[in-house]
Amino acid sequence: MYVSDIDMLSPRSLQECLYLLENEKASFRLLAGGTDAVVRMKEGKWQHDCWLNLKNIDELKFIAIEKDEIHIGPLTTHQEIISSPLLRDHADVLVQACREVGAAQMQNMGTIGGNIGTASPAGDTIPALFVLGAIIELTSLTGKRHICAEDFFIGPGKTVAFPNEIITKISFKIRGKHDLGIFQKLGPRKAQSISIVNVAISLSMKEGTRECTGGRIAFGSVGPVVLRAKKCEAMLALGELSPDMIANISRVAWKEVMPISDIRASASYRRDMASALLERGLYRLMKRWADDERKPF
C-alpha cells in the first residue's frame, strides 16, 4: 500500500465523525494538527485506510470555565493554551508545558488532543495534566466515558480509548488561591527537542509561609508512561520547604522512576535528572512564591 492510497474524510460535526467511526468498514486514524501523524505516515508506521480529519469540527475547539472547572477542547492548539488568560491564571503548569512543545510552528499546529492521542512517555502536556488532576472525556456514538489522566495511558502509544471513541474534552478543577505550578524540561537543546526528562509540579502553599499543604509531582520520559512521584509528594507537606528539605525530597525522586537508556541519554543520567529537575523546579517555585507574595523569606 502506498501512502498516496490513504484517503481522507473531513466530517463537519462531531456526530458525523462518530458515525463514520462506528459504521464504516475502513480503518481510520484521527488527524488533528498532524504534527505527529505526518511524521509517522512518512515513516510508514501508521498503515490505515483513511484519515479522519478533525480540523473542521469547531465544537472540539474551546477553552471555558464552568463553575469550578476548566474545560479544554481537544482541538485547542498549544498556542491557544499559551495565550489564554484563563489558563494562565488557573493552569500555569499546563501553559508552561505547552510553551515547551517544539517551537512556534508546532505550537501553532499541534493540539492538546493530539499530544494525548500520541501517548508518548515524553509528551510534554501529559505530566501537567497529571498534576492538575485532569479528566479526559471519551465520546462514542453510544455514550461518554470520563477517565482520569493517570489511568488513560497503558504504555507508549497506547491508551484506553477504543477505535470508535474520540477525545472530546479535558477538564480539571480551577486552582486554589495559593496553588502554583511549574513545568521543567530537559531536552538536548532549547527548542524542537524531545524531552530527556520532564517534570510537572503543583503545590498548594500556606499563606505567608514556606509550608506546603500538599502537591503533586509527575515525571515524563522516565518510564513507559508518565509517572507520579508519590513518595516525593508525601514529603512535600512534612515541613517548611527549605533548601535542605527541597534537596532531600529531590534525592528521593530517582527511586520513583524507571528510565531506559536510548540514543538521547543513559538511564543513569535520566535518574539523576529526575532529581535535578525536581530540585531546580522546587527552588524556582519557592522563589516565585516569595516574589509573588513578597514574603520576607
Binding site: 502506498y2 501512502v3 498516496s4 517551537a103 530537559l186 538536548p188 537543546r189 532549547k190 527548542a191 524542537q192 527537542s193 524531545i194 530527556i196 540514543i263 538521547r264 541519554a265 543513559s266 543520567y269 539523576d272 535528572m273 535535578a276 529537575l277 530540585e279 531546580r280 527552588y283 524556582r284
Partner: protein, 764 residues
C-alpha cells in the same frame, strides 16, 4: 571599518541573491518538476560489510510503472568514483563496505513505485563482521577492507629533538581527545536531475562544488566524452563540503541513458542522506605538549587517527591538513606529528568546512589553556608569546611568507569589552546554580590547495547587448556569497554600477574551469581571475571606442558606466550599448577571459601529504558560556569573532560567515554527532541529530583584524572555514572556566558535562 576610496570594495553590499532566497522565489534544482519526468531511486546496502553473491532484479523490472532497473552490469565505463582515488563503486559488484553503498538503481513513473521496486530487488548477501573502530582497523586482526590494507594514508612531520625538549620542559601535558561525526545538515539534501537531450548531449543538473570535476567523474563511469556532458551545479541549498564528492550525479547519468530521453530526478530523503552522505571525520587525537616555566612552548607530539569510513574520498587530504595545523599558529621548535586515515565500515567521511583542523585545534587550544593555568599565565598572553609572525618559522618548519594576523587578533581580543569586563560578566549568572565562564582560542586555516595539486582560477566577462556584463566563474556559490564578491570586484574594476553585472557560476557550458569551492579559496581565486580578465575587457572597449571615433586609444577615457572619446569636436560619450553595437557589427569578440595561478610553496615537507600551504587565514574567538550545574546544560551567551581575512571585501558578507561559522561551531561542540553502532546509523534524521536553532544562537560580534595580503584581490584572503574552528576550543575552555571540568570527548552534551562534574574530575 576605515575609509577607502572604493565604490564597492570594503562596503556593506547586500547579497545579490538575497531577495530571491529570502522571498523563496529561487528554485533549487531539486524543487523542479517536469512534464514527463521520472523518479530515480537508489538501493542501498542492507549490511555495513558483506559479500554479494547475486542480485536478482526480475521482480522489480516487471512491476508496472518501472522504467529501468540498473546494476553494476549496466555501467558502460569504470565502476568507481572518488576525488583522489576512485575506490568507491558506483554500484556495488561483489562486496558492500557500508550501508551507504549503492547496489542498484531504479527509474519509475512515481516515487512510490520506484521505492516499491527497490523492495523487490533480491540481493543475496553473505554478511561479514564489520570493522567499526579505527584503531582496530589498523591492527593485524582486522580484515582488509581494500586491496592495500586499511591504512589509506599515513603522514608524518618531524622537527627538532623531542627527547631533549621533554627533558628540559617544566610542564608536560598529555591527553586524548575524541571528536564527533558531524553532518553537514544542509537545507537541500543531495539530489538533482539528468536528461539525455535529443542531440545526444547529457545534461546533469546537480548541486556540487566543482562542476568540471564532477563531469570528469561522470565521463569516466560512462566511458563518454566529457565534452558531451553538461553539468550545472548552481544554485545550491548549502554544501559545506558535503557536495564536494560525487553525490548522485553518476546515478542520474546512468538512469538518463535508459529513460528514453525523459528527465530523471533523484532527491534523497533526509534519512537516506544521513546514511549515504559523507560526514566529518571522527578523530582520536593523542597529544603531548611541553612548555617552559615562562610559557614558551617546547615540544608537541601528536598522533591523530581519522575514521574515513568505507572510502577515501578526501580523507587523505583531511588528515594531511590536520597534521599541518595541529600545532596551532605557533612556533614550537620540536615536533613529532603523525596522522592516519583509516578505512572502517562506518559510513563515509570526507570534506567538511575546516577539513581536519577543527579536530586538532580542539586539542592544542585546550592544552594552551591548561598550560596557562598551570603556570598562572593569562591565556591570551601565552598565545601571544608563542604566536608566529610573517617571516618566522612555523612549528612544521617552514617560513611564513604571507600575511599573519594572529597577534593582531589576540590584541583585539584583549581589548574588547567581553574580555576586559570578564570578571563582571562571570558574576552575572542568571540563577545561583548557573556558573559562567569565558574562554579564548585561536587558530588558522590554509587557503587553497596544498603542494601537488594544481590550483588555478579562471573567469570570463562578456559584454551583453543591453550593455551589461556577464561575469562567469566556475566556482559555485554554496551559500557563502562569493557571487556577490565577484560582482563587487567586477563592478569596481570595470568602473560600473553593480546593477550592470550578472554573475553566473557552476555551469560547464557557460563558465570556465575555476577549481573547487573548497579550501577557503573561492573569493581569493575567483576575485583574482576576474581581476585578470578586466584589463582585457577594458582593452576591448577602449579599442572599440577609439575606432568608432577614429582617435588614438590614449584619447579614450573610462568614465563611470561609460567611455569618453576626446575628439576634435570635444568629448564624445559612448555607452556600453554603443560599444556592444560596434563590436557586434564588426564581428569582434565581446567576451574575454582571465586566468590566475595560485601562488604556492616550492618545497613539500617530505611525507606530509602536501604541506605547507602558502596562505593562511587566522582567527581568534572569545566566548561566554553559562553551565547549569543541575543538568550540565551549556548555553553560549556571547561570541566575539576576530578574523584576519586580509582586507575585508564586504563586511556584511564576512559577518555572514563569522555568524554562520560560530553557530556551526556551537553545534559541533555542544550538540551534533551521528551515532553509529555496528556500522549502522543510530541517528536517523533531525529528530535526534541536534543542530542549533535560533534559540541557541547567541549575540555574535565580529571585529576584523585586517592585514594586507599582497597576493590577494584587493588584499583579501579566505575565511570560509576558520570561522568555525577556534570557537570549539573556546567553548571547551569556557566550560572549564565555568564548571571546572575538561570535556575531551565532543560533543559536550549535558550528560557528559554532568557526569564529569559528578565523578569529580573537577578543578581543585
Amino acid at each position: 571599518m576605515k575609509e577607502n576610496h572604493f565604490k564597492y570594495i570594503g562596503r556593506r553590499v547586500p547579497r545579490v541573491d538575497a531577495p530571491e532566497k529570502v522571498t523563496g522565489t529561487l528554485k533549487y534544482m531539486t524543487d523542479y518538476h517536469f512534464e514527463q519526468m521520472v523518479w530515480g531511486k537508489v538501493l542501498r546496502s542492507q549490511y555495513p560489510y558483506a559479500l554479494i553473491k547475486s542480485i536478482d532484479i526480475s521482480r522489480a523490472q516487471s512491476l508496472p510503472g518501472v522504467i529501468c532497473v540498473l546494476t553494476h552490469k549496466d555501467i558502460p565505463g569504470f565502476n568507481g568514483f572518488g576525488i583522489v582515488v576512485p575506490d568507491q563503486p558506483v554500484l556495488a559488484h561483489d562486496m558492500v563496505r557500508c550501508t551507504g553503498d549503492a547496489v542498484a538503481l531504479v527509474a519509475a513513473e512515481t516515487k512510490e513505485i520506484a521505492e516499491h521496486a527497490l523492495s523487490l530487488i533480491e540481493v543475496d548477501y553473505e554478511p561479514l563482521a564489520p570493522v567499526t573502530d579505527a584503531e582496530f582497523a589498523m591492527s593485524s586482526k582486522a580484515p582488509s577492507l581494500h586491496e592495500n590494507g586499511n591504512i589509506h594514508s599515513h603522514v608524518i612531520i618531524k622537527n627538532g629533538d623531542m627527547d631533549a625538549a621533554f627533558e628540559e620542559a617544566d610542564v608536560i601535558l598529555e591527553n586524548t581527545f575524541y571528536s564527533p561525526r558531524q553532518m553537514h545538515a544542509f537545507i537541500e539534501t543531495e539530489g538533482g536531475w539528468g536528461v539525455l537531450e535529443a542531440d545526444g548531449m547529457l545534461t546533469i543538473r546537480c548541486p556540487g562544488q566543482y562542476a568540471y570535476r564532477d563531469r570528469l567523474q561522470i565521463a569516466r563511469a560512462l566511458a563518454m566524452n566529457p565534452a558531451r556532458i553538461r553539468v550545472i551545479s548552481n544554485p545550491i541549498g548549502g554544501a559545506f563540503g558535503g557536495k564536494d564528492e560525487i553525490t548522485v550525479q553518476i546515478y542520474l547519468a546512468l538512469l538518463a541513458l535508459h529513460t528514453g530521453g525523459r528527465p530523471v530526478k533523484i532527491h534523497l530523503s533526509r534519512e537516506e542522506s544521513v546514511i549515504a552522505g559523507i560526514k566529518r571525520h571522527p578523530f582520536k587525537v593523542q597529544m603531548k605538549t611541553a612548555a617552559k616555566k615562562d610559557g614558551t612552548l617546547l615540544a608537541n607530539q601528536v598522533r591523530a587517527v581519522a575514521d574515513t569510513g568505507a572510502y577515501a574520498s578526501l580523507g587523505g587530504a583531511v588528515i594531511a591538513l590536520a597534521i599541518e595545523h595541529c600545532c596551532g599558529p605557533y612556533k614550537i621548535p620540536n615536533v613529532d606529528l603523525e596522522g592516519f586515515c583509516v578505512y572502517t565500515n562506518n559510513g563515509i567521511s570526507g570534506a567538511f568546512r575546516g577539513f581536519g583542523v577543527n579536530q586538532v585545534c580542539a586539542a592544542i587550544e585546550t592544552h594552551m589553556d591548561m598550560i596557562a593555568e598551570k603556570l598562572g599565565m593569562d591565556p591570551i598572553e601565552i598565545r601571544k608569546k608563542n604566536a608566529y609572525e610573517k617571516g618566522d618559522r612555523s612549528s612544521i618548519g617552514h617560513e611564513l611568507k604571507t600575511s599573519v594576523g594572529t597577534l593582531k587578533t589576540l590584541e583585539i581580543a584583549e581589548t574588547c569589552e567581553l574580555w576586559k569586563n570578564r570578571e563582571t560578566h562571570k558574576k552575572d549568572s542568571s540563577e545561583p546554580w548557573k556558573k559562567r565562564g569565558i574562554g579564548v582560542a585561536t587558530s588558522f586555516h590554509a587557503v587553497g590547495m596544498g603542494i601537488g595539486l594544481p590550483d588555478y582560477g579562471a573567469a570570463t566577462i562578456e559584454l551583453m547587448p543591453d550593455g551589461t556584463f556577464k561575469v562567469g566563474v566556475g566556482c559555485e556559490d554554496i551559500g557563502g556569497g562569493n557571487g556577490t564578491v565577484y560582482a563587487q570586484v567586477a563592478a569596481e574594476l570595470l568602473n560600473c554600477d553593480i546593477e550592470n553585472i550578472t554573475v553566473i557560476q557552476g555551469d560547464t557550458a557557460q563558465t570556465l574551469d575555476s577549481g573547487t569551492v573548497t579550501a577557503s579559496r573561492s573569493t581569493y581565486t575567483g576575485g583574482k581571475a576576474i581581476a585578470a580578465a578586466v584589463p582585457h575587457m577594458i582593452r576591448l572597449l577602449t579599442e572599440a571606442a577609439s575606432t568608432l571615433h577614429k582617435v588614438e586609444p590614449e584619447d579614450i577615457l573610462i568614465g563611470e558606466n561609460e567611455y569618453y572619446a576626446l575628439t576634435e569636436n570635444g568629448e564624445q560619450l559612448l555607452s556600453y550599448k554603443d560599444l556592444y553595437a560596434h563590436l557586434q557589427e564588426n564581428r569582434l569578440p565581446t567576451k574575454v577571459e582571465g586566468h590566475f595561478m595560485l601562488p604556492k610553496e616550492k618545497e613539500e615537507l617530505p611525507r606530509s601529504g602536501g604541506a605547507p600551504h602558502h596562505l593562511y587565514g587566522y582567527l581568534t574567538h572569545l566566548v561566554l558560556v553559562e553551565v547549569d550545574t543541575f543538568t550540565g546544560e551549556t548555553e553560549v551567551l556571547r561570541v566575539v569573532s576576530i578574523p584576519d581575512a586580509g582586507q575585508v571585501l564586504n563586511p556584511q558578507g564576512l559577518e555572514g560567515q563569522t555568524e554562520g561559522g560560530a553557530v556551526m561551531g556551537i553545534g559541533y561542540t555542544l550538540y551534533e554527532d551521528v551515532l553509529m553502532d555496528g556500522g549502522y546509523h543510530q541517528t536517523a534524521n533531525f529528530t535526534n541529530y541536534i543542530i542549533p536553532t535560533i534559540r541557541e544562537t547567541p549575540l555574535i560580534e565580529t571585529f576584523p583584524a585586517e592585514s594586507m595580503e599582497e597576493t590577494g584581490p584587493f588584499g583579501a584572503k579566505g575565511i570560509g572555514e576558520v570561522v568555525m574552528i577556534p570557537i570549539i576550543a573556546a567553548i571547551m575552555n569556557a566550560i572549564y572556566d565555568a564548571a571546572g571540568v575538561r570535556i575531551k570527548h565532543l560533543p559536550a552534551t549535558p550528560e557528559r558535562i554532568y557526569q564529569a562534574m559528578k565523578t569529580g574530575e573537577v578543578r581543585q
